[in-house]
Subunit: 353 residues, 2 copies
């Protein structure tokens, strides 16, 4: 439906894509035509980023492209899948060649990094809204679901958590110097490279594709950390409770949470759980493993560079509290510090937005 | 990335979908998990509709949903494919339960009509922008491409054309009474049901799925009429010229164009080609058939209710005019009226927007 100048936008995205044998027809016909390998199932995910909501209106277009791809591929990583094909729906307020060049260049770099072909899309005029639909493969019946956790399973996460929220806080404070430095953070103590690290974790996340694939056959459930560990763990608990017919809860050991040195320097210790559990946007993997698969996990992850950390256990809720399945509340997760039950009230991040 | 009230939007779209055996996991995990039947290839298309660009801000939400689905499925119909799965990216300015109810109800009706499961999506806050990504199947190697037309092929289109543009004109005139009735149209002569027919053709198009499937193995090329016959035929000519290495042109017989009685009543005869060739949004199929397949076409289409009309031929351009491949111009299509070459200048529809 694009008209005039907008037809030209497509030129930034055509014939620059990764070539894949399974793309029979890419951009240029009514539909793309694709071959799914025998024995594989298809996994599909869609994410939208809106200017002024998911990124600042003056955000670097390369960063926007970077995150758009990473966030989508992260969903495929969380299934233990291999990303393959992407469709881009690009709504832009104007034909801005500088923005388009920077955005498309990074988009192609990012897709190439993950081996993904851009197979189609649509360009339209309107407020800046970017929707990417990604498709990938999993071995038949081997996808990592949210709903497979069982009582007794160990809870792990990859990498470090809370960094992206700290990076966002740094950016917001830089844009609002009148805010001063929050009493809960210590920006002055941060080295420049730590600051860059935290901001990069917010702006340019990495999807954990090879980690997700390594977990196939080992993890009982998996999700990527987009909303924050506390929220995302509840998705696992709710889905798994429904499937096993038993109310599940989680015990999390706060002293075990994997925090970067940069985060520990920037944020007061009392606020570490807030960043690590409610921060979101880290795109690490949160997963559960049955105790009998722990050795297998350790062997497989020993071949990976990415750290992984045991942070808690799935437990069954006493039978006299069945309501928790229908009405999930904060009590679904019990927090401990050095094995002592620790009450914890997490704030939402709305005050950041 | 949705937060708070926006999480509730998903409830309008969950658990109301067509059940399909090939949807292993639908809405509710990081990705949908899908099985592609053996021997089939996947076809994928994405279309975006923006409020104020593709539909009026106060458009009936049911009509918006109707068209969003039809326009996307039409792309699969043009490949001769069978639609299967849809992902919806919904960006909305506010949580408007009335709008969401009307929109989601028609969306589900429409998807059901075409046998499509809603398998996922994303809901975000922003200016109203709707992106639907549709997936379907074609028999291995049997998709109807744009690029298969050859010199001598007969050109056909399904149904009647120009109706949607006439419907749009009626709506615009209704919204701008000061415009008066254009000298080229005769709104007063239109019966109410003709008016309703034309407006419905604009607001609630039908994707020609069974027609596309019937053409598999018979048509040499196919495209759906979204931009208007003149534009869409050029897509076939350009793609086919590149593939066969020979500059192709088309001869179109204006007296053969299939026009509805409503259009013939509403629009002055001199303006019929303008509506039929430059109107767009009819979502009929435009296709070419080698002369030796004509009998087969007639036999297959005899079992269909939908009319189809022979409107012209593909011809090869004289060898001394090779530039036309690189620089397609209006001359790629020659118009005839009762076999007399007829110069024709088509206006764009920008003045309608």
């Amino acid at each position: 439906m694009a008209t005039g100048e907008f037809d030209l936008i497509g030129q930034y995205f055509t014939n620059k894509s990764v070539l894949r044998d399974d793309v029979i027809t890419g951009i240029g016909d009514d539909c793309a035509i694709l071959s799914v390998p025998a024995g594989k199932q298809l996994v599909v995910t869609t994410d939208t980023m809106v200017s002024g909501i998911h990124f600042l209106g003056d955000a670097n277009p390369a960063d926007v492209a970077h995150k758009l791809v990473a966030v989508n591929i992260s969903d495929i990583a969380a299934m233990g899948g291999q990303p393959a094909w992407a469709s881009l729906a690009l709504t832009l307020p104007s034909f801005d060649t500088e923005w388009l060049s920077a955005f498309s260049e990074r988009l192609h770099q990012q897709l190439q990094r993950y081996g993904v072909s851009l197979i189609g899309g649509d360009t339209t005029k309107g407020n800046m809204t970017l929707t990417l639909t990604l498709q990938g493969f999993v071995e038949q019946g081997k996808a990592l679901p949210r709903h497979g956790a069982k009582a007794g399973d160990l809870i792990y996460c990859s990498g470090t958590i809370g960094d992206a929220a700290a990076g966002l806080k740094l950016l917001i404070d830089a844009n609002n110097p009148d805010n001063g430095i929050s009493e809960n953070t210590h920006e002055a103590a941060l080295m420049a490279n730590d600051k860059d690290f935290l901001i990069a974790r917010h702006q340019r996340p990495t999807a954990r594709v090879s980690t997700g694939q390594a977990l196939v056959g080992i993890a009982s459930s998996c999700i990527d950390l987009s909303d924050g560990l506390a929220s995302d763990l509840k998705h696992i608990l709710n889905a798994s409770s429904r499937v096993c017919g038993m109310a599940l809860s989680a015990n999390i050991e706060l002293s075990a949470l994997p925090l970067s040195t940069a985060l520990q320097t920037y944020v007061s210790k009392a606020r570490w759980p807030q960043y690590a559990l409610a921060g979101g946007d880290d795109y690490e993997l949160l997963f559960t493993v049955a105790a009998e698969h722990k050795t297998q996990l350790d062997e497989v992850m020993a071949e990976h560079d990415l750290p992984y950390t045991h942070i808690g256990e799935i437990v069954s809720v006493a039978a006299d509290q069945p309501k928790q399945i229908e009405q999930p509340t904060q009590q679904q997760i019990n927090y401990f510090y050095d094995k002592q039950l620790t009450p914890l009230v997490l704030q939402g991040w709305d005050h950041f937005q």
